[in-house]
Symmetry: D3
């Protein structure tokens, strides 16, 4: 059961409304990495969760994101207000101006309506927590970009609050994932095929005009990695004469 | 530049085609966590990437996912084939049967067309790597569920190959993230507000009929956490008499 | 600011889970006329509303719909649970089974993801109240159909609660519209063109094989109506000889 | 069966084309509350309708809306024409300019393609009539906003025609609903639960910084209403000591 | 201006309603290659067309497709009718049954709502005519598949009418394209680069397990073609030693 | 199996980045007629194709389009780069700037995410080849418009390469269709109804204010055509007195 209290979680002050910035703010209201996506992703994961302790975590943060949605919506509403009267302002977002009467709307900055396709919900707790950690990282960087494009101190102040909370949530989700005590790279029940899981396929090769190059790093050397030179490349050479030999065979056997 | 070789990365054998399972397989062909989503997410991140070493990683794995898409599509095509003739088979996926002529199609198992809304691309390398780690974890669990619902040994064998590679990719992305040497919970350039980032808001409280409860764990106690009893609850009590006192003030100030 | 309490607004009991019915229930979870659509339509109207009294109404009901979403989601989750294990159950909704792990998902019964395109928000208070009255009527009839297709007494009981509340909301919105004291058919500020607003264009004529016929009723006779015989028909006759004369001229001039 | 006559239902004159206004006009061509949505909503309701008299009404107005679509499309086409040559004009709507060659397109002003998600069709006649009344009210206010943002007298004149017809339709639908003789708030066959239908849940409480307040009005007092103080709030107090007493029990039992 | 006559363009008789087939029929009502797509593609091309003769063609066929939409919708409505009462029937398309009350709906057979993304409209007359020829070919084959999956003679008879008309339209569009007198492969005003337009890139090579092979035919030999062996392959060999020589150079210069 | 080589198929040089043009370029990256649509349409047709020779053609061109996607993406990335820092630049495409960090994104120029709804895949080889011919014609004209709106010589040069290749592909697809040796207007197996296939229905009649007129041409006269005067018009006259006589009967019987 939900209850709403008529106070914002963070007080919002806006100096001069800036419709173009109001339009940008919609990224965090009705956009792919915005507050509605966060609220619903966590709350629905929580609704379906069988682990009561981490279910509580999901519901706590899912509910907080609803309060953030309200803050972002209030900021957007204040910045979009000039669209009610001014044709110039309306050009920043004609959908908001003509169809929405100048209010906040569940679309992103380019008018694409919010869709549940943005959500990542698998019902596998550790997987969902990983999706949430990534989601908070994305939300943080989007707030940072909004702050960088913003001139109004009051707006920046509220965005700093919201941005900070994303990191707080990221920490909670990371601790919750650790607390499950799963081994690294262990997902679900079926183990991966032993040797194949340590192979790295070098499927993009060569050197490009803009500095592109073939690289080695801890993601494909050391750490038990077997480096498989381009499997398709082996096939191409085979096409010229015999079959490709060596490492590439193990990839397509 | 891309080249295609007319051999699958993994040989596919299907015993008795099972149209209903073919329909389920479309989750990994044209679904939210499927191979096209993986191929395009990594390849476009790679296209935009300024770090040539990790750009190579993104292109390697993005390209491998294209080869996986081909494998899943071949599996789906073989399982869907009876839809070309049989009305009963066609009922499993009328869109495939009537509009698509019984071939693999870029929709998920419920016929929803693939959309770029599935992709998570921010252009911030560490954030994108986190999104990729989560994406691989999701793909792994989806393959596991497909294996569990599958009776055909040849199909299971190919799915095991694909499932294993997702873990291999997950490892590469995790090592690549580590290799950036960023501090934990450090995203972008703007630091979060110091105390606020350590507060946990208890926004869902009480006890439910199905075992729901208010819980404490490393995600809200120890680790420097300040536990803030429900901010809105403080407001409600304040509404009854005076203003809420204490911790909840710091949340909405 | 929102707060969540870990009790459902209405206690839910489900006897034998029925996955196909669970799939149907998703219409009211992630469907066009479902609880998320209601919650967000009213809450965002409320966020943008300049009339504090009716804003309170919109927030009251918007928040109640969030609690309804939780009830429907819990019902759906219980009915969908067999999909976690059973391949037969999974065939009722492969997206839920394979991608969602058998939990409630923000899609409708055919797997279409929820979209903000379902919302009707104009920022014009009386218009929004009319949209809400219609929305409640639609939700009521959808619940009635679910009840008619349901065998489980506990589920029917919860659906009866939810269905009743839609009528309660419909009443509130109707009283709120009346309380604005607007004249009938008066929308916005610009008056309609006097005579034209009383013309009825008979644009579909003739008699059909399945009982279709040309009809008169209070919607096109009496009540000040001027009945204009098919404007295009006048043009067609005109094309045979001279120009159409009479009433049809006033329509297209 | 349909026939098209090569005359607009209303003659259209455009002075100086204004591409930005042409882009705004697309709201009524390919937008959520536009003429295609109206035409298809009523025509498909009519196709499915079992009541021959009101079926005729639905087909009459559904067909008229097709003629309106043609008018709006002609207006949009004339205003968008400069996009064929001018890069500056093209910036108002690059999709129209680059992909559509400067012609009217079935997208809204932000380029979102028209979708059947906009339609409200339940097959329950009185419910559909309510949806139509609300749809006409929305269309009216959108035309009013377009008129307010428009400088060209010829365009304003045509928009006034279209706006007026929406009110005419609204009247027809309202008389048709009345003529069904249904009791107020009576939808479908299953009656709502008696006492519960008269309860109003006060789910949003308190006082906000921008004038938000807890209000009473005919939508929650008098008229047989029982005012239920916030059900979740009762639960929260219960969480502090015993169970909540009184009205809130009846809400969630 | 449009007029509707209450007679179907082709009389429809349905024997025993078959809800699963009714669901399949929706492919031609609200599906990607269905009658609404055809009606709107041609009519909007016509609205924007500057060539009055072919504009008339586009309007003639666009209007006829509206009449076809009515026929398909009537067929679907009759086959879907059992969904009003029967839960078993409802399982064929729960969206139609629960949300739509058993009537035809603007979705495809998998419940995906119709979208203007299906339309191909460029505003370049010859290009649009090519898109229309292809669209009619697609619609023809979809009707053929529906006929093959249909047992009811009356339904087959109506589908044969509709299928035939698609070929009639295909012929008209082909003659209209020829009548423009454009040279083969001449699109727009800017000529293609001379030699490059005659090169064929062999970008997929090798031999596969299911009969895939590298082939030559009139699409890549004779007819002035220059056959360029895989450009990327040249790069790969170059990566082994020097730069690739020969034909492949001209491709990526 | 796919392999990627770190060289563009065509070298790209961009002078001064122009963010508004970068936004327009997205039409060919993530738009309806763009390179991803081409790559996936042909490659998936190829995956499902039973004719090994034309399957090779589909895979050759499908793979080449992936290399084109890379070129367009590189062009877009270079033109969009100023959005990383400049707020003015960001206003050209706030989604790219705020959510995407200034990189190329799989959306069109109005921010609509790429969707598989753009694809035309029926699994009927000759029909698919027709869809591909039309697709190449559309892509050609879109490139031409981009060239016309472009000032940068390096960008124009790369666009000329891409535009030329579309015509090369169009030729290949046309030769492949011819090589199937199908009779004109012969699609699938079921023959159209003999006389009906030669009837042309004059469903749009009259003369309009902007030069619209009723026309005759090879698409409705000669060539074996029977010209049927408006079928619905016949019905209207029939409604005035007796039934319509003559040709129109054969259309709707």
């Amino acid at each position: 059961m939900y209850h709403h209290v008529k106070r914002l979680m963070y007080t919002v002050n806006v100096g001069t409304p800036e419709p173009r910035f109001g339009n940008m703010l919609l990224e965090q209201f009705g956009g792919a990495n915005g507050e509605l996506a966060a609220a619903l992703q966590y709350s629905i994961q929580g609704l379906n969760c069988d682990d009561p302790d981490r279910q509580d975590l999901l519901m706590d943060i899912g509910t907080e994101e609803l309060s953030h949605l309200e803050i972002v919506g209030t900021l957007a509403r204040m910045h979009l207000k000039p669209m009610k009267k001014s044709a110039t302002a309306a050009e920043s977002d004609p959908l908001v101006a003509i169809a929405g009467g100048g209010g906040a709307t569940l679309c992103n900055s380019m008018g694409t309506p919010w869709t549940a396709d943005y959500l990542k919900i698998t019902g596998e707790l550790d997987v969902d927590l990983r999706s949430n950690i990534a989601a908070e990282a994305r939300a943080k960087i989007v707030y940072e970009r909004l702050i960088n494009f913003c001139d109004d101190p009051g707006t920046k102040d509220a965005l700093q609050f919201l941005m900070t909370r994303e990191i707080a949530h990221m920490k909670s989700f990371a601790f919750a994932l650790d607390s499950l005590g799963k081994k690294p790279f262990s997902i679900g029940q079926i183990p991966p095929t032993p040797e194949l899981v340590d192979q790295y396929f070098n499927d993009s090769t060569g050197v490009g005009d803009h500095g592109e190059r073939d690289a080695r790093g801890p993601w494909n050397s050391g750490n038990g990695w077997e480096f498989v030179e381009a499997p398709a490349f082996g096939e191409i050479r085979a096409g010229e004469g015999g079959r490709a030999e060596g490492k590439s065979r193990s990839a397509h056997r």
